[in-house]
């Protein structure tokens, strides 16, 4: 259970201040697949970043399993990012000149997992996203869809309970985008991983079980797709 209570986020100061989020309250239950939609600048990416503790709200409370995040130590926040959340970005964010396997291992390095187990788990993750045998490929040797698969493998390698995806198909053509969406959907259905996905594409949002629409820093609509 993730819960945003009266979250406000303001960027910049005084005259140039921009209110990105205006007293948002939003709860997400375990196992949900939530699409966050809305025009650009509506606050959807900011919401996702706050869910992933990549950003702190200006005001309001964020609770994970009922525990307020702002009270937690920095090390605990790093630990949460490491083993509770998995991130998937529009631009993949793979380390250049680094093999697919090493990219996937990254969270395990910070989790303190030993080399042998790290390698085994990273290989298993790459296999499960449909990239067996491409362990040594560098990002520039992979297609966009393959790069996003590596990124998804990295997101799931440490068994997170939540995947946070920011426009995961934004840089892909529709065929590859469809494959990636199916992959994400499978993670949600088969493994019970909660998925929070920012998208402006209605066809992507259709994969979700719930759609939350943002407008001007406020929730405009929250409906079930079921």
């Amino acid at each position: 259970m993730l819960e945003l209570r009266n979250i406000t986020k303001i960027y910049g100061q005084q005259a140039s201040a921009v209110r990105a989020l205006d007293r948002i309250t939003l709860g997400v239950n375990d196992g949900e697949f939530v699409a966050i939609t809305g025009p650009s600048g509506s606050g959807k990416s900011t919401t996702l970043s706050i869910f992933g503790i990549l950003e702190t709200p200006t005001a309001g409370e964020y609770l994970i399993e009922g525990i307020p995040v702002q009270n937690l130590a920095k090390q605990v926040l790093a630990l949460l990012r490491n083993n509770r959340f998995g991130f998937v970005f529009q631009t993949f964010n793979l380390l250049p000149r680094t093999s697919a396997l090493e990219n996937v291992m990254l969270p395990l390095i910070y989790a303190g997992v030993g080399t042998r187990e790290r390698t085994a788990r990273a290989k298993a993750a790459l296999d499960s996203v449909g990239l067996p045998g491409r362990y040594d490929a560098h990002p520039n040797q992979l297609s966009g869809g393959q790069q996003q698969r590596v990124a998804i493998a990295r997101a799931i390698v440490n068994n997170p309970s939540v995947i946070l995806a920011d426009e995961p198909t934004g840089n892909l053509d529709s065929k590859m985008g469809k494959e990636i969406m199916q992959l994400i959907q499978n993670l949600n259905r088969d493994r019970g991983i909660t998925v929070l996905m920012v998208t402006h594409d209605a066809s992507c949002a259709a994969y979700a079980t719930r759609e939350v629409s943002f407008l001007d820093g406020k929730i405009e609509r929250d409906r079930s797709n079921a």
Binding site: G52, K74, A78, L79, R81, N83, L95, L106, P107, Y110
Partner: protein, 402 residues
Amino acid sequence: MTISSTVRLAESALLRNKMRSLLTTLGMVIGVGAVVIMQAMGQGATAYISDQISGLGANMLIAVPGTTRMMGAQSAGVPLLVEADLEALRRRAHSVRDIAPLINRPLRTMYGTNYHNTVINGTTPDFFRIRKFVVTEGRDMSDEDERTGALVCILGPTVQTALFGSDHAVGKEIRIHNLPMRVIGILEPRGSMLGMDADDIVYVPYNTFARRISGNDRLGAIMFSALSQDEIDDAKEQATQVLRQRRHILPGEDDDFVVRDPREMASVLESVTGALTILLSGIAAISLLVGGIGIMNIMLVSVTERTREIGLRLAVGATSSDILTQFLVEATILALLGGMIGLLIGLGASSIVAKAISIPFVVPIAAIPIAFGVSVLIGIVFGVAPARKASQLIPLEALRFE
């Protein structure tokens, strides 16, 4: 995150920019190289000096005509020393043990059709005692040789080889200044001294030299030894007083001769080495500073370049201290790399220079831990600012950085 994976991470990051990493270490290379050269040269020079001093003989002093100048003596227009000075010293300088005249002249030596130009020295058996010269073949110069002015000579190994090749020389007769001289001994080889061949020399009895070669009682120098090490200063003082009287120098007037103590020469040489050390220390300090700033600069560039990478690492669970450590380790490895290259180059350069100026090459053991320590210190000191900058990035801002 474990130390070994941090180090491996840093290595791979540095290997991605091989050329840049190498160039960044240049200041460290020069700085540590200078430290190593300084150590090696300093120790080599010290070893050389003490070697030379012990080779000069125990408690040795030498009186030469001339006035004191910085390093040597100026002898133009100054009366020479004479045999009577020697006698006066022998009688009145009580702290003196052995005393020997020294006079020399460059002359040609001949054996059959072979000839060799060298320096003929006239001196007495005392000289060999003071200098601790040993003959490896034949016999020493005797008091009898000196008293009778015998036509005998002792050759340095270079002269022997030049005249006789590999044949035996002892017992043979050579010609010097048209005099038949019997070779009675060959000196132990001594090698080169300040770049000159110390074995290219011939010794004849002083009386022989005075009567047959120079034809007068003038001396180039008087060499003498003190009774003991504690009496070197006394011997020097007594000799100075005797010679001042002999040469009619009034109180308050400067000496027109110099009594040299090789230990003073050593201290002159040591002060030269000291000046060189200060110079090299300066170069080392400046290079290390420049090297450190170079590392800091390139690390700051690296942090900016890799902002997105840092953001990603934070997003997948790196703590800010993980990031801090990563960049600190990178800076330290860079500095260490430079230090190690500097160490090797410094050792190589020292051995070449030592060979060129013929001083012993001493591997400066102390320089190795110093090079390591200095490198690590520089890496940490100059790596802190970039590493802190990296560790204080906010994950989302770093991820969005263009």
